[in-house]
């Protein structure tokens, strides 16, 4: 099974149409596409507009290839399960997202060897033609880097703010909370 996904935010018809055309020519592989609010409706793939987070994870887990936009939710989940990933970034100029940040993300992912990247439809067709050779990723950990976890953990537990030492009475918030509670009740 190949899972094609554009994430939960915006449609990405350019990706869905290109993969659907390829699926129509190729016939063999089974594909499922999550297309969000796209105008283009696939003819050669099973599809749904949105799926639950649980089904989303299950589909990634069960797929032998993930074809996706360069959204980090999809990328991180696919990498957690060690699934091969082929991404095409959204372009700001086509109104597919606000700006070209996915282009930069995709370039970095390719550079670091996390994903195969197609910058446009032609490259996507090219990558799909040889999708058997799309490098299998090795699974990443299910958590952030140890360095980042330590930074967050230390900051939460640490004495970064002097007020932390004296604890109870230094918490200025209860008064505000009361005000809010009254405002809401009124």
């Amino acid at each position: 099974m190949i899972f094609v996904t554009v994430g939960s935010q915006m449609p990405f018809d350019r990706l869905i149409r290109t993969v659907d055309d390829w699926a129509g020519r190729r016939q063999t592989p089974r594909l499922f596409a999550q297309i969000a609010g796209g105008d283009y409706v696939p003819r050669h793939m099973q599809w749904q507009r949105f799926i639950s987070p649980a089904e989303y994870r299950r589909r990634i887990f069960e797929s032998e290839l993930i074809i996706a936009h360069a959204g980090m939710g999809t990328v991180l989940t696919a990498l957690e399960f060690g699934r091969p990933l082929l991404v095409m970034p959204r372009r700001g100029g086509f109104g597919e997202t606000r700006n070209d940040h996915q282009v930069a993300t995709a370039a970095r992912l390719a550079e670091a060897g996390y994903a195969s990247v197609a910058m446009n439809e032609d490259e996507l067709i090219g990558q799909l033609a040889s999708f058997d050779q799309v490098a299998a990723s090795s699974a990443i950990a299910s958590h952030a880097s140890v360095q980042l976890l330590s930074a967050v953990r230390d900051f939460i537990s640490g004495d970064a703010q002097p007020s932390r030492d004296s604890g109870v009475q230094s918490h200025p918030f209860p008064a505000v909370g009361e005000e809010l509670a009254h405002a809401k009740a009124a």
């Binding site: 939960s8 639950s52 953990r153 900051f155 505000v176 909370g177």
Partner: protein, 165 residues
């Protein structure tokens, strides 16, 4: 009565050494990145907040609250979101707020700072070439202000302390 209850709660919290943490993010990649911080939060009393009730299953049995999502184009949505976030902060009274963006995290950090809570902003790993707009705007209110890209860190900018990958 609320005051008594909350002061009891703080005492108990102090005794067990657990702190109250509010972990908040919008949907999609922001939420997936927040989930990857769970090991750093595990020893604390964490309340998760996001924009889709389905996400509850990702963190169950931890506490979970839902807010609306909003973008800059939806001013009414932003106001509503700010009110909901303020309400949640008032109820949960976290010691520390940690967020991976976007709009819900922005309001949580801004309001949390106002209320004297410690605040952590971790800009999304998707922002490779420059910090997100909310990430830039939140700077004065974030006690720990992080980018996940070392080349974006530096003097006058956010700190780099590792990434989600």
């Amino acid at each position: 009565m609320a005051t008594i209850a909350s002061s009891n709660q703080r005492t108990r919290t102090a005794r067990t050494g657990r702190l109250r943490v509010l972990a908040i993010a919008s949907g999609g990649g922001h939420w997936v990145q927040l989930l990857r911080l769970r090991p750093a939060l595990a020893e604390h009393d964490v309340t998760y907040v996001s924009v889709d009730k389905c996400y509850r299953s990702d963190i169950s049995p931890a506490k979970f609250r839902v807010v609306n999502d909003a973008t800059r184009r939806n001013k009414i949505g932003l106001v509503l979101l700010a009110i909901r976030v303020a309400w949640i902060l008032a109820r949960v009274r976290p010691d520390t707020i940690v967020t991976t963006g976007a709009a819900p995290g922005y309001f949580a950090v801004r309001l949390g700072k106002l209320f004297g809570m410690k605040t952590i902003w971790i800009d999304s790993i998707a922002n490779v070439e420059r910090l997100s707009l909310s990430g830039r705007q939140v700077e004065p209110y974030a006690d720990l202000w992080l980018t996940q890209w070392s080349h974006l860190a530096g003097v006058g900018g956010p700190r780099y302390a590792g990434a989600m990958l």
